[in-house]
Symmetry: C2
Subunit: 172 residues, 2 copies
């Protein structure tokens, strides 16, 4: 009886917080997707500000970071590990071979659809388990380093680059 | 007995969410503060990209938005309501009178210190109550529109503009 009562009380709080966190993630992904859709290939090829990252680099960077969330959250292996070198460990204009902008656009859509499927299928309690780059020992002491926290941090990472990518849009 | 058990079980979960959310907020505020401290008044006076907002405008904008969180979260009246016109409802270079950059720097520090005090003094259950721009009726149907959600959204807003303000820093 007590166990049932505990579950009834705790689960709604967890589910509410998960909803708030997932909603915030979806909001930023939707904003980025709308912006990418509104920008031409030529606009994406330009720099967000003089001598700063191009739209293509930031698109590739965001695809690579989102892809990295699959193993980090224990969902799956990366779909595009080949993006790590040009978009995570190298700066823009590194001279490394990169996919075309059309390919990167498709990757963005596919990787976010894939991640969304996994997010929707994640049980509430699962969100509060450790992510895959924290040790069991550290997690025991720092229970906030859970999977949901990854989503919070990556949402802010998306917002950060959205603020830069918006500069590719001509001023109204 | 049952009540005690419920409280014991639910509070740690709530406190964990709150810690995750407040940590994310603090991380972005600290990043912004470090950046503002690293930028000279002259650098802040320049545009983040050609024909885009200046650093001063974004500093004033972020002060005004943070100030607006005081009434929204039910803590206090705005400290600087005079910033609303030039930094929330008007664009950059509106010709309106604005404080000096030195004054805005002080406001940034003061408003964040004030908000941090209120955040630290907020009881866990209080975070899950409605914020002040949602009606009681809507909140009953949408319990995620609580005070903690404001903090999540404003953290992303800070990240968004941090991505732009970083362009004021000379490239290494």
């Amino acid at each position: 009886m007590n166990d049932v009562a505990l579950t009834t009380e705790t689960q709604p709080v967890k589910e509410l917080f998960i909803k708030m966190t997932v909603d915030a993630w979806n909001t930023q992904v939707t904003r980025l997707t709308k912006l990418f859709d509104a920008l031409s290939d030529e606009q994406l090829a330009t720099q967000t500000a003089p001598d700063r990252n191009t739209g293509i680099y930031l698109l590739g960077h965001l695809v690579a970071v989102t892809d990295g969330m699959l193993p980090l959250l224990g969902y799956a292996e990366k779909i595009h590990p080949e993006l790590e070198k040009p978009f995570l460990t190298s700066p823009d204009r590194s001279g490394l071979e990169i996919p075309t902008v059309q390919e990167l656009r498709k990757y963005w859509t596919a990787i976010n659809a894939k991640l969304s499927e996994h997010i929707a299928a994640t049980a509430p309690d699962e969100w509060f388990t450790k992510h895959n780059s924290v040790s069991a020992e550290d997690f025991a002491k720092e229970p906030h380093r859970n999977k949901l926290n990854i989503l919070i941090n990556r949402t802010n990472h998306n917002s950060y680059h959205l603020g830069q990518l918006i500069y590719l849009k001509p001023k109204q």
